[in-house]
């Protein structure tokens, strides 16, 4: 009876239109399951067994990606309830905390973000210590460094959104540095040189508090409502898209550069 239903389903047109191979317990089907699935085809069909050992990879790269997915999911849920406007932002967060029974979406989002920062660092440590940045993987290491920066920026822009004292002052301290950017920050070295007066023309300082690097970052001379909107858009749209794109490149390059790193050296007594 059970067998009959099973055959009936797996022989149906619907099933066959989705899954194009039998149960993956033979060599052929195990290959096909990876090759014919869009998500699984990130992987090769076979990998060296040492690369499955937790002690080798620490799982950190995969976990970083997993946490990115968790952040995307919980982030979308939070976006349903949060409005990035000065008069609503704080109250929306307060409501998430007070009015949702057992609500832990913000918690998962925040702790997941912290965890992601840590897993990125440790993934990088692992890649370094196994020499996995060496040829032919140099370029992918570079993409990884950009992804690390994007992860920190994602976390940094998100830090402002609760719009509480912790948020506004952390971002104030973190972005204060921008006003000391050489030449384009109004308290940076060389900013005073960008003045037609230096050429004997009219004395007009070109870089001041309302048009320097910090102003561009914050959308104002201090962390205010314009900053909140700016960081919201960066946090929810721009940086995640940039990170997702680079992640695709990162994963693709892992495959193109020969998959997970394996010992290639000659270990014969003579070579050592």
């Amino acid at each position: 009876m059970w067998q009959k239903i099973k055959t009936h389903i797996s022989e149906s047109q619907v099933w066959k239109s989705v899954i194009r191979h039998g149960y993956p317990d033979t060599r052929r089907n195990r290959t096909l399951v990876v090759l014919s699935n869009f998500f699984l085809h990130l992987h090769p069909t076979k990998v060296p067994s040492h690369s499955l050992k937790l002690s080798y990879t620490w799982c950190m790269g995969g976990l970083t990606f997993f946490l990115f997915l968790v952040e995307t999911l919980t982030g979308v849920l939070l976006m349903f309830y949060y409005r990035p406007v000065g008069e609503y932002a704080y109250n929306d967060i307060l409501a998430l905390r007070e009015h949702v029974p057992l609500g832990i979406m913000r918690e998962i989002h925040r702790w997941g973000a912290h965890a992601m920062v840590i897993t990125v660092w440790l993934h990088m440590l692992r890649v370094f210590l196994t020499g996995s940045y060496k040829p032919p993987r140099e370029f992918n290491w570079g993409i990884g460094v950009v992804l690390l920066t994007l992860t920190l920026l994602l976390s940094f822009t998100g830090y402002l959104l609760p719009w509480d004292q912790l948020a506004i002052w952390a971002i104030t301290v973190g972005s204060n540095m921008a006003r000391a950017t050489p030449f384009v920050g109004h308290e940076g070295p060389g900013a005073k040189l960008l003045n037609p007066g230096m050429l004997g023309l009219e004395d007009v300082p070109l870089i001041h508090a309302t048009d320097d690097a910090r102003f561009v970052l914050l959308g104002g001379p201090f962390v205010g409502e314009a900053t909140l909107l700016r960081f919201y858009v960066l946090h929810c749209v721009f940086i995640p898209l940039a990170a997702a794109t680079l992640m695709a490149v990162h994963f693709w390059r892992v495959r193109k550069d020969g998959g997970i790193s394996t010992p290639t050296d000659d270990f014969s007594q003579k070579a050592l």
Partner: protein, 358 residues
């Protein structure tokens, strides 16, 4: 008990804490085969846990460490320690094997196996496990929410998010244009240039320390000491007005810290020469400018001719200079720290007229 606390508070001061961590770091790397023996490592772990648990009994310690946003730092500290142990342990085993003429463990018995089910199953389990841990963490610990944002009431201390506290701690030694702009940029470019600087062909795909001593020492120094240790210092030991407080000390807003730091120009003109400061800034800062110019532009070619002759020849002109730029900039921080502690040095170069302070 009280005296132990005082001792730890005393030891935690940057002038003792940072050199201590540095010495421990280099000793640990030297004896990496000994300290990564499971028994030794277990003893260190137990020691750390006992220290942590006992310290949590202290009110001031608990107050800082148990802040919701500081919990990740504790996790990060233990994980960084564990991961470093894990890597060095395997490196020790592999190095010992390779000395005996055997291939590293990663090479031995490595056959290809199917992604389905072996890899997919590990990925699935890892995701489920971390998902569960994250859920428990989220149920147990509420995300912090303080008073509504007010641009008029600055908390003291105001701190950046925890992962940037290493940079904020650098502000003690350097002006924002260096600590907040130039150095972070150099960290990124430096990291990206690693694969092109490291010309050692050995060591891909397995853990080894012996074959890559310099690369690993430099990287771990940057990550564990200049990044993780400074974050720890910035989070746990910096209180109101960014003053230092020991782990068991009360964060007293009124702690008075004498401002005794002086510039290199003041040391030279006033303390040594006994004259006043020249009024012309260029004349005043000429010594500092000479020192920095020598450090950045003079030292690399000098070393290429002398101590690092072989190294420079092997690296080639561009590679050598890019490496030296990043290396010297990285070492500028410890150098400045030492000068601060020994001579109360504030700035090598202090052209406040143009915000150009180094």
């Amino acid at each position: 008990m009280e005296s132990v606390r005082h001792l730890i508070d005393w030891l935690a001061s940057p002038i003792r804490f940072l050199p201590l961590v540095c010495v421990i770091f280099f000793l640990a790397l030297r004896g990496y085969r000994t300290i990564t023996r499971p028994r030794v490592a277990l003893a260190i772990l137990l020691g750390a846990i006992i220290f942590y648990v006992l310290s949590l009994l202290d009110h001031n310690f608990r107050h800082i460490v148990a802040k919701p946003d500081n919990v990740p730092i504790t996790i990060m500290l233990f994980l960084s320690g564990f991961c470093t142990y894990l890597a060095l342990r395997q490196a020790a085993i592999n190095d010992e094997r390779m000395e005996r003429g055997l291939a590293p463990l990663e090479k031995e018995g490595s056959e290809t196996i199917f992604v389905w089910p072996d890899l997919v199953y590990i990925e699935f389990l890892a995701a489920v496990l971390v998902g569960i841990l994250l859920t428990i963490w989220s149920i147990e610990l509420k995300a912090p929410l303080e008073q509504p944002a007010s641009p008029f009431r600055a908390p003291n201390p105001s701190k950046a998010p925890w992962y940037f506290l290493g940079l904020q701690e650098m502000l003690v030694y350097f002006d924002p244009w260096l600590a907040g702009v130039v150095f972070p940029t150099l960290i990124i470019t430096g990291l990206m240039s690693i694969p092109y600087m490291d010309m050692n062909p050995r060591g891909t795909g397995y853990y080894s320390f012996k074959q890559r001593r310099m690369a690993i020492t430099l990287y771990l120094f940057g990550f564990l000491f200049l990044w993780v240790t400074l974050i720890t210092l910035g989070t746990f030991f910096r209180g109101p007005n960014w003053n230092f407080f020991g782990p068991y000390e009360y964060w007293d807003v009124h702690k008075v810290q004498p401002l005794v730091n002086i510039n290199l120009s003041e040391i030279i003109y006033i303390k040594i020469l006994g004259t006043g400061l020249p009024s012309n800034w260029f004349l005043r800062e000429i010594w500092g400018l000479l020192f920095i110019a020598f450090y950045v532009f003079g030292l690399p070619p000098l070393l290429a001719k002398t101590a690092l002759k072989n190294f420079a020849a092997k690296m080639g002109f561009i590679r050598y200079n890019v490496f030296m730029l990043h290396f010297l900039m990285m070492m500028l921080l410890p150098i400045k720290m030492i000068c601060r502690w020994l001579f109360n040095l504030k700035y090598f170069v202090a052209v406040t007229e143009f915000f150009f302070n180094i």
